[in-house]
């Protein structure tokens, strides 16, 4: 692989180029959306193609590669890794970015000239997210985390004139910074304990832990704990989830799809790489704690979602419970990789689709959206209502939808790792969770008096976003094997 080192960063290169080009084009043709709009979509698709290229290289090579910076002796450790993990994440992130961009088109229209900045921030954010999945170096994980987070803080507050959006952005920023700081402190403590920042290479954490018996593991344990807190915050696992409902409620609807789906993909990729791979020798220490976090997430997510009146808060708590379900796959160690990826890949499309429907109903920029505003959607726009129903059934985990397959995989891997009690909690909460997903569907198709019945017109691109989300949900729910074959190969180096 002659220019493999370029392939390894192709995804980031495409997206960062895209972000710069978009801004430059925006200076010239800022109001002319038809010029730069397709450009942004194209860059997202190109990034997915770059991911595909990486994937094919990795599969042909039968493993993966990492790349060191030779001229910085003190940091003499690999910074970039290209393997099944990073390339699969690249494909999914590129596609999710594209669909989320389609879904946010109505907002872009409304934003006018500022839309250029919105789009380039989306591109930047996705690049940062992938960095988290494609590096073995804890500091680079942090850099990716911050790149994505800062972009998303801005996106959350982009419609700051709308009531609540500024509050959401500020909350997200303050709490997110706190979590990032804790993560960074964890990195520092881990470095102090092991003398390494990297998971791979000669002088790696992995090697250190397997060749040394840590007689006084306190520093290492504290470091692991703090990194865990930071990452759990990002994936909104309970009890580190409290920011999520408030931020979701205030942030512009159209930005949320990427914000939720993208961060989960990258966050879980980082958790899997750092803990399941790097701290594999410590699995007996961290796995029980992750299992408890998963339990709290499932229960809190489901219980709180039941009593929400706002669809966005409902989806936020549902996201908390989904974080719990995916964590059951993490608990299983490396046996849960394919479950995690299947769940993440399919959940991402469901989330983007669902938030796009929400933004169709309540407008792309507005904030609070009560569940009642979905009333009569079955009549106002049957297509959107049916697609939303599919997405809700998918999230609920009904057979023949992807959510079911994902849950079965996650629970199976947890059961294989002897966490049967976790599976029991997972199944029980799934059943309870059915209630609020069905509530959304019933609301859409109920025919109460006094409901506005004017036809709801939606833009073509938003329709596409929802159709893609629902199609993925059904197709891979009925025929999951092609995707399963792929995720089985999405392994870390």
């Amino acid at each position: 692989m002659g220019n493999a080192s370029f392939i390894a960063v192709a995804f980031e290169v495409v997206l960062l180029t895209g972000a710069l080009v978009t801004i430059l084009v925006g200076v010239v043709a800022g109001r002319n959306r038809s010029v730069w709009g397709p450009l942004v979509g194209m860059f997202f698709l190109l990034s997915a193609v770059a991911g595909l290229w990486q994937w094919l290289e990795v599969q042909a090579d039968g493993g993966g590669l990492y790349f060191s910076t030779q001229n910085l002796p003190i940091m003499r450790s690999p910074m970039v890794v290209m393997d099944g993990f990073s390339s699969f994440a690249a494909v999914i992130l590129g596609l999710v970015g594209f669909v989320a961009f389609l879904g946010s088109w109505d907002l872009q229209v409304r934003l006018g000239k500022r839309a250029v900045e919105f789009s380039s921030l989306m591109l930047l954010g996705v690049a940062g997210l992938h960095m988290m999945a494609a590096t073995p170096n804890l500091v680079v994980v942090f850099i990716g985390l911050e790149t994505a987070s800062i972009a998303f803080y801005v996106l959350a507050g982009f419609t700051r004139t709308v009531h609540g959006s500024d509050e959401a952005a500020l909350k997200y920023f303050l709490l997110g910074s706190l979590a990032s700081a804790m993560f960074l402190y964890g990195v520092a403590l881990t470095f102090a304990a092991t003398g390494s920042l990297s998971l791979y290479g000669e002088n790696s954490i992995l090697n250190f832990l397997s060749s040394h018996i840590v007689s006084q593991p306190g520093i290492l344990l504290a470091g692991m704990s703090l990194m865990l807190v930071g990452l759990m915050f990002k994936i909104s696992a309970a009890p580190f989830h409290q920011w999520a409902p408030d931020v979701y409620q205030g942030a512009p609807n159209a930005a949320l799809g990427l914000l939720v789906a993208g961060v989960k993909i990258a966050g879980f990729a980082a958790i899997a790489r750092i803990f399941v791979e790097g701290m594999a020798s410590q699995i007996d220490t961290w796995a029980p704690i992750v299992a408890v976090i998963a339990t709290i997430s499932m229960i809190v997510g489901v219980v709180m979602a039941l009593v929400q009146d706002d669809i966005k808060r409902l989806l936020a708590y549902s996201g908390v419970s989904h974080a719990g379900y995916i964590l059951t796959a993490i608990v299983a160690g490396s046996g849960g990789y394919s479950a995690m990826w299947f769940y993440l890949a399919t959940y991402a499309f469901m989330v983007v689709g669902a938030f796009t429907v929400v933004s169709m109903v309540s407008g792309p920029g507005s904030s609070a959206t009560s569940i009642d505003s979905l009333k009569g959607l079955g009549k106002r726009n049957p297509e959107a209502a049916w697609l939303m129903a599919v997405l809700m059934l998918g999230m609920a985990g009904i057979p023949f939808f992807t959510g079911f397959v994902g849950k079965v995989l996650a629970f199976t891997s947890a059961a294989n790792a002897d966490y049967v009690w976790l599976v029991v909690i997972g199944v029980v909460t799934t059943v309870i969770g059915l209630a609020y997903y069905l509530r959304v569907i019933l609301t859409m198709f109920s025919s109460d008096e006094g409901v506005e019945l004017a036809t709801l017109d939606v833009s073509m691109s938003a329709r596409f976003a929802v159709i893609i989300g629902a199609t993925v949900t059904v197709v891979f729910g009925v025929v999951p094997w092609p995707l399963l074959d792929v995720v089985r190969n999405a392994l870390p180096l």
């Binding site: 706190l178 006084q216 704990s225 703090l226 009890p239 219980v303 009593v307």
Partner: protein, 623 residues
């Protein structure tokens, strides 16, 4: 050419989708014409590769489309051999004619495009069934045709009887499907695959006699549902509530033969289970007899044909039971043509009589509906088994094969001959009451011949009815050998001497002629004989089997269902609602924690982080 075989299935399915989506815009008659063309194209696409088989040079091929369930090794595969070829040609050929006929018959119906959509869906489903290369795919087709049958029987669902008939057909068929499912599980448990090739090649080595008997009995249970045998035949007479072309296509020519086809396909398994063969033969012949007796007394022209179908299916099942698989398939082929013709002819009569189905109110239509009369007469002679019409060859082959088995089968043969007599009787009765004598029409009815779109299919089917028998005469023109590749590994019954065959044929012919003469003498009189005797009434009521089922099965089931509903609403829902409101109140209690204040959130985050560190240190073994 076999590469394109998937199109044979895909085209009708695609057309069904088109008609359901934009059928209204296409309107009448365009939606019907397109649907007919779709089936016609399917026929041509199947006929081109079929030439190889007819020329005797074809080899059976398996066409792999895609992997469906890799973990169970289920491939979406089509099997193209003489048996599936024959069925494909019948389904698409007869199907195309009936589509054409329906354009005239359904004229003016409000849901005209919907009707053709269902018909096309049926053709596609039936083709999935016959072309399947494994039991899993076959089962999909099996269920889909059941669905189509339900949709089409209750097509005029505003009529309560039609809606009820559709439901009845569906439920009764489900009972049979249960057998199919068990057979599928047993097959998978025994072989680890559903694939025909593997199962049939290894069955003699893998299956014990007991297992083979269990599997075949379950398959037969499925066949009694779909092919309307005792005890599950009761849905078929009611199915006549559907439009007449549906009766012709689904409930006479194709779908009801699916059970026979499925058993013929599984011939290797049936060969391994002689006990099943005896059961199948007895049930078949008993069904043939019972249905023939009931048909004798029916007054509704379609009911006569419905019971006649059951009776003829009994013959086919008898053929399977005695191991004469090609004979069964042969009778199925001839029956497909003459019974479709009879139904379409009956439809033409009903059309002419402005919806009247009661035979005592017909009569004297011979001159007014000449084409209908002539074509139906051909079918009449064919089903009665008069030389040289098609039914003669196929029915005699089955009876001869039964006779050849010897022993207890002599009794079955004798019953079969009696059924032949009764068949001649009730068909002659139908023809005489409808076409001869004087008109006993209601006031205001002015019979007229049907439009060309209806008579052309009649004429084409009439030609086939006369000629199709010659593909398999005792002169051995090769039909049996043509089907050989499909029945590899199945022992052929001993050859019979030509003298014996002809003696038996002559005997049945004499009996048949007797039946015709009997009915002719009885109904040719100017006054219809009063059929008021106790046996006539019992036969007219179908020996009240329906009432019996109603009292013994339906009523207790309903009571059980009521009980289940009460239990569910009172007990289970109470628990579920209780749990639900419990969880909900927990959520409401927790709500204030979500205060919205950044400070408190940061506090929670810090506390949770500290708890996590402490837990980690404790689990990890301290500082």
């Amino acid at each position: 050419m076999t590469d394109l075989l998937w199109l044979v299935i895909a085209i009708p399915l695609a057309m069904a989708t088109i008609n359901i989506l934009i059928g209204r815009r296409l309107g009448e008659p365009l939606s019907g014409i397109l649907a007919t063309v779709a089936v016609g194209v399917s026929f041509v696409l199947a006929a081109i590769p079929a030439v190889d088989f007819i020329a005797g040079t074809g080899e059976p091929v398996t066409i792999r489309l895609f992997t469906w369930i890799p973990t169970m090794g289920v491939e979406a595969e089509l099997l193209w051999d003489p048996l599936s070829m024959l069925l494909t040609l019948i389904v698409t050929g007869v199907g195309a004619l009936i589509h054409l006929y329906s354009i005239g018959y359904m004229h003016g119906d409000e849901r005209f495009p919907r009707f053709f959509s269902f018909l096309n869906l049926f053709i596609g489903s039936m083709l999935i069934l016959v072309l399947a290369a494994n039991y899993a795919i076959m089962f999909i087709g099996w269920e889909l045709v059941g669905l189509c049958s339900y949709l089409l029987i209750s097509f005029w669902f505003t009529k309560p009887t039609a809606a009820a008939a559709g439901k009845k057909a569906f439920i009764v068929n489900r009972i049979g499907d249960w057998g199919f499912l068990i057979a599928l599980m047993l097959l998978f448990a025994s072989f680890g695959t559903f694939d025909f090739g593997v199962i049939f090649a290894t069955a003699p080595a893998v299956l014990s006699v007991g297992m083979a008997t269990a599997i075949t009995l379950m398959l037969f249970a499925a066949a009694t549902g779909k092919s309307a045998q005792i005890p599950l035949y009761v849905w078929l007479p009611d199915a006549m509530e559907g439009p007449t072309p549906v009766s012709a296509l689904i409930h006479a020519a194709t779908m009801v033969a699916a059970g026979v086809f499925m058993m013929a396909r599984s011939a290797v398994l049936f060969e391994l289970a002689p006990a099943t063969g005896v059961v199948v033969a007895i049930v078949g012949v008993a069904t043939a007899l019972l249905a023939a007796v009931i048909a004798m007394a029916q007054k509704d022209i379609k009911k006569v044909l419905a019971y006649s179908t059951i009776s003829q299916l009994g013959y086919m099942v008898l053929a399977i039971g005695v191991g004469a698989y090609s004979a069964g398939i042969f009778h199925m082929t001839t029956h497909a043509f003459f019974k479709a013709l009879l139904f379409l002819g009956a439809g033409s009569v009903i059309h002419a009589m402005a919806g009247e189905q009661d035979m005592p109110k017909m009569g004297g239509l011979r001159k007014l509906l000449p084409i209908t009369f002539l074509t139906m007469a051909a079918a009449w002679l064919a089903i009665s088994g008069i030389f040289p019409f098609s039914g003669f060859w196929s029915k005699d082959e089955i009876l001869a094969a039964t006779f050849n088995e010897g022993g207890v089968f002599y009794v079955l043969w004798l019953v079969g001959v009696v059924v032949a007599l009764l068949t001649a009787f009730y068909m002659t009765r139908l023809m005489v009451m409808t076409f001869f004598g004087s008109g006993r029409w209601d006031e205001g009815v002015e019979p007229h011949e049907s439009p060309a779109s209806m008579t052309i299919p009649l004429i084409v089917l009439g030609l086939f009815t006369v000629g199709i028998g010659f593909i398999n005469t005792p002169f051995r023109l090769g039909f049996e050998h043509f089907l050989d590749p499909a029945f590899q590994g199945v022992a052929h019954p001993e050859e019979m001497s030509a003298a014996l065959i002809w003696t038996l044929a002559a005997l049945t012919t004499v009996v048949t002629l007797g039946g015709i003469a009997w009915a002719w003498a009885r109904y040719r009189r100017s006054e219809l004989p009063a059929e008021s005797g106790v046996w006539w009434r019992r036969a007219l009521g179908g020996f009240f089997v329906d009432d019996f089922y109603g009292d013994v099965i339906v009523a207790p089931s309903r009571a059980a269902a009521d009980l289940a509903v009460t239990t569910d609403e009172k007990a289970l829902d109470g628990v579920a609602y209780g749990l639900g409101s419990g969880v909900k109140s927990l959520g409401t209690t927790l709500r204030p924690v979500q205060s919205g204040k950044v400070r408190s959130y940061a506090g929670v985050l810090a506390i949770a982080g500290i708890v996590l560190i402490v837990a980690m240190v404790i689990i990890g073994g301290g500082f």
